[in-house]
Symmetry: C2
Subunit: 379 residues, 2 copies
């Protein structure tokens, strides 16, 4: 990563909302805060703002570093920066940690102002619809009437879709990458195993582990290990790990035998040390519940009818979590609803994770599309 | 199931082996017993015997019922019986619970004669190679010099392959259904998540839970839920469950919301109440370790060279646990090794589970192939 393509040292900010937010579940959040970052400069017309929506375990730290010696930059640093596809010399880019998150936005690990205790199990279920509503208020605070684009991969793509439906006049382009208009039974099944791993961990304490000096580490670790398998493709895993052995030959025991075991356990351990279990539950539930066609008797075309945005839908050939077939469902519905839509099915071995990677056709696609968006903003 | 196509009331038997068995790991099992069942009659030439090898959670109770009012028959009752593809009026069929099992054969929950305590964590790791060696001794006791066929699905198919390699003169036909010549990194990864779920369950007690009056129920339940997802196809799950809700509308909580969650949790609960956690670990390890090409620098053709059996390899289009691609690897190696092999890729929506189902093309294939085997036996 050369210096001149990085947004450099960044700082997170906090937006406070004192007006209550009515959630899809019927619950009401009396007040909340959102943690966010911005990169680049909002132009005078305020027409060059891009919102980046994060996926299951993401957050507002999209690009750059907090300190020069940070080991890793933001999670989408490969895509966001000066001269990168989401070019911060042309766009004003906003990353936000979603409501229910564990990176500074109000969530289960935050203090409930009414009780002065962590919310824990009493934090309400939040949905993609709620997130988009909360993001709209953030846009208001930032003086952004209309996003040049809302962009997201996976669960982030669902937010982009919801923006196009709920706030058609406030979004010029919706970019939905490796996403789906709703989860399949298999998707929900994987999520439920992950949730059950967390919920049945004796250290979960019904979600109120914060006051018990314990963490449902085992459960969260399992959830992440399982999730990670679904982010990679069978072929990609085979190419990277195959049947490589840790110590050259079989040892006939339950310690790490194959490299893939070592990798997965490491990923699980790392995640369990840094992520909040209740947030993980919430994020998987938001995935499960998203289904804009539901209010239209399952008719996605009807659900998308209000949209006026232009759409870019992209999928990856080896993604089996949200396979190209799922993106094509979206594309077909958009076409049937007479929307402007471009679709790309990108050859990649990286499975669902490809949306975070830098396969050349993907980067080129994003660069070309967003360059056009930038020209529109400047016009 | 009409009366005349069932083997009827059956009884399990126990074979005791007082001679020690040297295992692939280097460990030695001083003595052991195998629980088995037989259906049909061994002919005078002893040429009509078929061995059925079970998969991960299977056992020796292949067909028939123990009591007339048993709710369920043996696990492959659809395939084994008078007039069925594995026709018990023509074949003498043997089902055996593998070493390390929890259905009567010596395993971790058995009493170690040396300590008079359950084996628990001290039970040695057993492999497909060990199973086949122990099954060969069972064949000796039954007076069967040569199997007309060894048949198995999934892990059972690996045993059929190993029989053909280790005892070429003792097997006329090897039927390998929905199987693979070795696990992929993704396969191992799923197994390891299942094992970690069990091993990190506080009630596992390092495998010695028998004396603690506890069971690692949560871990085993998660392992089964996860396994179950991989047995079904995405489309099959979608067709059966889709996004069907338990109570008609969203309830925004962590109780069962979607029918698929209810189904999976039920399967997990049922399994956790009846299966042994240590056996589950052992069976997944046997899967991981099987790789006959390993001793031949990864050359499966060389590994299969000793075989003289005729082969039937069958796969199912929607099986993503052991996809058709994995069966084609076997077929290609068999062809390259100049073996007699028939291959069928069967259209089915039932995923990996299809090998236990009754899709018509599958049943017809088995019937046709085994009818030819029966003619050979009688000749």
């Amino acid at each position: 990563m050369s210096e001149h393509t990085s947004v450099g040292i960044v700082q997170a900010q906090t937006a406070v909302f004192d007006t209550s937010l009515a959630l899809l579940s019927g619950a009401i959040l009396p007040s909340y805060q959102l943690r966010f970052e911005t990169y680049g400069t909002l132009n005078a017309a305020k027409s060059n703002a891009i919102l980046i929506c994060h996926a299951l375990s993401g957050h507002h730290h999209v690009a750059g570093r907090y300190q020069a010696d940070d080991k890793n930059p933001g999670w989408w640093d490969s895509m966001v920066g000066p001269g990168k596809p989401i070019d911060t010399t042309r766009f004003f880019v906003v990353g936000v940690n979603n409501l229910g998150g564990c990176h500074g936005s109000t969530g289960p690990s935050s203090i409930n102002p009414l009780t002065q205790q962590p919310w824990g199990s009493s934090f309400p279920v939040v949905t993609v619809e709620d997130w988009v509503n909360s993001q709209a208020r953030l846009a208001d605070q930032l003086g952004i009437q209309r996003w040049a684009a809302v962009i997201g991969g996976s669960l982030g793509g669902m937010q982009a879709m919801q923006w196009s439906i709920a706030y058609p006049e406030r979004i010029a382009h919706a970019l939905m990458i490796a996403s789906a208009p709703k989860l399949s039974a298999q998707n929900i099944a994987f999520n439920d195993v992950a949730r059950q791993a967390i919920i049945t961990d004796p250290d979960f304490h019904g979600g109120d582990f914060y006051t018990q000096a314990t963490l449902p580490r085992h459960g969260l670790r399992l959830a992440r290990m399982l999730g990670h398998i679904t982010y990679l493709s069978d072929d990609g895993m085979g190419e990277k790990f195959g049947r490589l052995l840790r110590s050259g030959d079989y040892r006939f025991g339950y310690d790490v035998e194959f490299e893939i075991e070592s990798y997965l356990r490491y990923q699980g351990d790392k995640f369990a040390d840094t992520f909040d279990a209740n947030t993980y539950l919430l994020m998987t539930k938001a995935l499960d519940y998203f289904d804009p066609a539901k209010e239209h008797d399952g008719d996605l075309v009807a659900a998308l009818r209000p949209a006026t945005a232009h759409f870019l839908v992209a999928s990856f050939t080896s993604d089996w979590r949200f396979s190209p077939q799922r993106s094509r469902e979206t594309v077909k519905a958009l076409v049937a609803a007479d929307k402007q839509v471009a679709y790309a099915e990108i050859e990649s071995i990286h499975g669902h994770d490809a949306f975070l990677m830098t396969d050349t056709p993907y980067v080129n696609l994003m660069r070309a599309y967003l360059s056009r968006v930038a020209e529109e903003c400047a016009a």
